[in-house]
């Protein structure tokens, strides 16, 4: 039987005076790749933050790895690349190695020390995003696309089973978009469950096998990627409402 990773039932959410999500429903199984698409302000980041417990929700039910979200504590099983990941101060004196290894905290816990094995994990994570050899570079000295790959590596170092990425290609050049698309597809092929939001790069969701489309009303339409043609997906990104029949 397929392992259920994430189940969202009848989820609604509003900021004071701003209703955002309405009655969202979907279930993800191990190895699924979900693309969340919709225009700016549709509620994509909001949904991600709710799943990460950064925002409290009152209506609905979320189950992570078979456990109620409120009770879920195994943070290391989830990786996250924020939409604002590379908005840190570019003069911050930290190396790639220091940034990536910091996220081992979830595995190691309070007051623990880093070991040789941890450094190997760091190198393995960098290799997964094609950034081996950059460990001693200052993070602020890298290009936007390289920084984004470092932040993906940081998420990967705790060996998560579910990876959430909020607009991982925002503000990076075309070459990096290709590289990042590749990285994500490879991770997914190796069995990692992935959730990725996007509002402007149809090619990114080509590899997704499920889509959650936010058009109007914030309720999100949950469809299988293969039920839509690439043309229809392009139309959604262009802001055209698509009526499809599954």
């Amino acid at each position: 039987m397929e392992q259920e990773i994430l189940k969202v039932e009848n989820l609604s959410f509003e900021y004071p005076d701003t209703p955002v999500l309405r009655d969202v429903n979907f279930t993800l199984y191990k190895g699924d790749f979900l693309g969340i698409i919709g225009e700016n302000g549709a509620g994509k980041s909001t949904l991600i933050k709710i799943i990460l417990k950064l925002l409290p929700f009152s209506k609905g039910r979320i189950t992570l790895f078979g456990e109620d979200l409120a009770k879920f504590r195994d943070n290391y099983r989830i990786g996250y690349v924020s939409q604002k990941a590379n908005s840190f101060n570019s003069r911050f004196p930290a190396t790639v190695k220091e940034v990536v290894m910091a996220n081992l905290y979830g595995r190691k816990g309070f007051l623990s020390r880093f070991t040789r094995a941890d450094e190997d994990k760091m190198r393995a994570a960098l290799a997964k995003v094609g950034m081996e050899g950059y460990e001693n570079k200052l993070i602020g000295s890298l290009s936007g696309g390289q920084q984004q790959r470092i932040f993906i590596a940081r998420a990967l170092i705790s060996e998560p089973e579910l990876l959430l990425m909020d607009e991982p290609t925002v503000g990076v050049d075309a070459r990096s978009v290709e590289l990042i698309t590749d990285i994500i597809s490879k991770l997914n092929e190796r069995g990692m469950t992935i959730i990725m939001t996007n509002h402007d790069t149809p090619s990114l969701v080509r590899a997704a096998d499920k889509l959650l489309i936010f058009c109007e009303h914030g309720n999100g339409e949950f469809v299988r990627r293969r039920d839509l043609t690439m043309e229809q997906i392009n139309d959604i990104f262009a802001g055209k409402r698509v009526h499809h029949h599954a």
């Binding site: 990460l52 950064l54 504590r73 943070n75 290391y76 989830i78 996250y80 924020s82 840190f88 101060n89 003069r91 911050f92 004196p93 930290a94 190396t95 190695k97 220091e98 940034v99 290894m101 910091a102 996220n103 905290y105 979830g106 816990g109 309070f110 007051l111 623990s112 020390r113 880093f114 001693n136 200052l138 940081r154 705790s158």
Partner: protein
């Protein structure tokens, strides 16, 4: 042995200063990198109010300083939430309260404010046994906690949201940073002076950031620089009969400007 070390009080002053030069940049790192440098100023000016009260009611001024600067950093944390996105207002409010309270209390101190001025600008005076123990004990606590929480402090400083998501008790780590900052400025007020201590938190870190190639190097270099400033400052203030805190800080500023000029030249 140089003449300067023949005096027991000078040996004590050097030991205390050497310890302070370790803890000041350790606490300066998270403050500078989180853009919270103003908190050091607010805490030290509030410490001054505690010193004034201590002199007034005859309890050890450094104990008074610790109590008041801890109250100050807790007050700042509370106020930061009130002001939300404009949280930099909070330390300014607390600092105003600290200065105001100091001014009012100093009016009641016998012998006027002469007693207090040593704590404003720092002085090499006889440090009592009790104060020496207090200084060594508090510095040891700050050093040990900084080393034990090294990776926690780094993560919270670099990316608080990611630290929280990894399961780290970010609130507790921030609380520790605040309390240790309060302790640091209080301990330093005797020799470096309450008006000078925030410079000793910031300047060594700022200088180290120009050269260092990692977070770890920044930390090590900033301690080395702080030692250079305080040791040379104490020598100069002894032989030239200058205010110890003022001399230490001025050496730091000159060093920082020189380092800035050198790195600017190298970049060109």
């Amino acid at each position: 042995m140089p003449e300067i070390f023949a005096y027991a009080f000078m040996r004590r002053a050097f030991l205390a200063a050497a310890l302070i030069a370790v803890i000041a940049p350790c606490m300066g790192m998270p403050l500078v990198l989180k853009r919270l440098s103003a908190i050091g100023d607010a805490a030290s000016h509030s410490a001054l109010a505690g010193i004034a009260l201590g002199l007034l009611i005859h309890i050890n001024p450094i104990l008074g300083a610790v109590a008041f600067s801890i109250a100050a950093v807790l007050g700042i944390e509370g106020l930061r939430k009130v002001f939300g996105g404009y949280s930099e207002i909070a330390p300014v409010v607390v600092m105003s309260a600290g200065i105001g309270l100091t001014a009012v209390l100093s009016g009641f101190i016998q012998g006027g404010s002469a007693n207090l001025s040593g704590f404003l600008f720092g002085s090499i005076v006889a440090i009592s046994d009790f104060e020496m123990c207090l200084t060594i004990g508090l510095c040891a606590v700050v050093i040990v906690v900084t080393l034990l929480l090294y990776k926690e402090l780094f993560f919270v400083t670099f990316d608080e949201e990611a630290a929280r998501l990894s399961g780290m008790p970010v609130g507790a780590v921030n609380f520790v940073i605040m309390i240790l900052t309060a302790v640091t400025v209080s301990v330093a007020s005797r020799i470096v002076g309450a008006l000078m201590i925030s410079s000793l938190l910031v300047i060594p870190v700022a200088a180290a950031m120009m050269i260092a190639k990692s977070y770890k190097q920044t930390m090590i270099l900033s301690v080395v620089f702080a030692e250079i400033f305080t040791m040379s400052g104490l020598f100069a203030s002894y032989y030239l009969d200058l205010s110890s805190g003022g001399t230490i800080v001025l050496i730091g500023v000159v060093f920082l400007i020189a380092a800035a000029a050198l790195t600017a030249k190298r970049r060109r």
